[in-house]
């Protein structure tokens, strides 16, 4: 019944909880990757990704 009631309108708040963990973990993983490539202060990471940082308007140098 409850599931049918959600057909026409938005799903109940618990719907958000059902996907919160996988979705937030994915966002966190994405942020860590972008940080490592674009923002890390490690010199080798900066030099390897130098042109990518400039192209994406990540603050560089």
């Amino acid at each position: 019944m409850q599931q049918q009631a959600t057909l026409q309108i938005a799903r109940p708040k618990s719907a958000l909880l059902a996907i919160a963990m996988p979705v937030l973990t994915a966002v966190l993983l994405g942020a860590v990757i972008v940080y490592g490539v674009g923002f890390s202060h490690i010199a080798a990471a900066h030099n390897a990704a130098h042109d990518t940082r400039h192209s994406n308007v990540f603050p560089c140098h």
């Binding site: 958000l16 994405g30 490539v37 202060h41 030099n47 042109d51 603050p59 560089c60």
Partner: protein
């Protein structure tokens, strides 16, 4: 299950978009960086120019300094292009993870088949506004050799600009009623705070070189705006398509009845 689908889709979408943007940049962004680096070298060669050029750099973090002689850097030519390609693909995968997570949440909360390549284009355009346009308004695209404010301050402002824009646009788009206009205030907040700036971006160079650097900076702003727009539109449409194709079935197994999708 859902997490694995999101990650696999992000890998697929990120690799494709990263390869595409690398090809585009190779043709229009990279030549401008190479030209700027010729001028950058001319300033470093001059004794008098060095203090002015490095003063603006963030010397508290010597290890991160671009002119650190001890640090590894790729050889110019193929090695450097390959590393740029890898960095572009990794960045695109990171962007895809966030974008696919957002589109997945949107599809799930709307409870319908809203994700598609077409709606993904709108997500991509919105993401370009948040991740490229919004920070660029305060910290314009910089060619190598540009003196700028301290790195930490700029990185912090960049993050504030991106987070405020993303939250502001989301509030405008999804919050019902008059509360949604709070989104405008969030969009304006980074500029009210103000981006960190210093005067004399090209003070280390002769007048003639400084003029050429300014011309290059203008070209660079247009080139990066175009290449990142292509990247984000590709990311958006591919992400929308991937969510519809591969994430939607995983969402359906979360306890949603089959009739909900009929």
């Amino acid at each position: 299950m859902l997490f694995r689908r999101i990650v696999l889709c992000a890998l697929f979408v990120g690799v494709l978009a990263g390869l595409l943007v690398s090809a585009v940049q190779h043709w229009q962004v990279i030549p401008i960086i190479a030209a700027a680096e010729v001028f950058e070298g001319s300033a470093e060669g001059a004794e008098a120019a060095e203090p002015a050029a490095t003063m603006a750099h963030d010397h508290d973090h010597g290890a991160a300094h671009v002119h650190d002689e001890a640090a590894w850097e790729p050889e110019d030519g193929t090695e450097r292009h390959v590393w740029t390609l890898i960095a572009n693909v990794l960045t695109a995968i990171g962007f895809s993870l966030v974008l696919i997570a957002a589109i997945t949440t949107w599809e799930h909360l709307r409870g319908g088949r809203v994700a598609s390549a077409r709606s993904g284009l709108v997500w991509g355009a919105a993401a370009w506004l948040c991740v490229f346009a919004a920070p660029s308004l305060g910290l314009p695209p910089e060619i190598p050799g540009t003196a700028a404010a301290a790195l930490d301050a700029r990185q912090t402002w960049w993050l504030i600009a991106v987070l405020c824009s993303a939250t502001g646009l989301s509030v405008l788009a999804f919050v019902p009623g008059r509360l949604r206009w709070l989104g405008i205030a969030l969009l304006a907040l980074p500029y009210a705070l103000g981006a960190p700036h210093i005067d004399g971006a090209f003070a280390a160079y002769s007048d003639e070189v400084a003029r050429q650097m300014e011309v290059l900076t203008g070209q660079f702003a247009i080139a990066t705006a175009i290449s990142s727009a292509i990247e984000w539109l590709a990311l958006g449409s591919l992400a929308g398509w991937a969510v519809a194709r591969w994430v939607r079935p995983a969402l359906a197994t979360l306890g949603t009845p089959a009739t909900a999708r009929a």
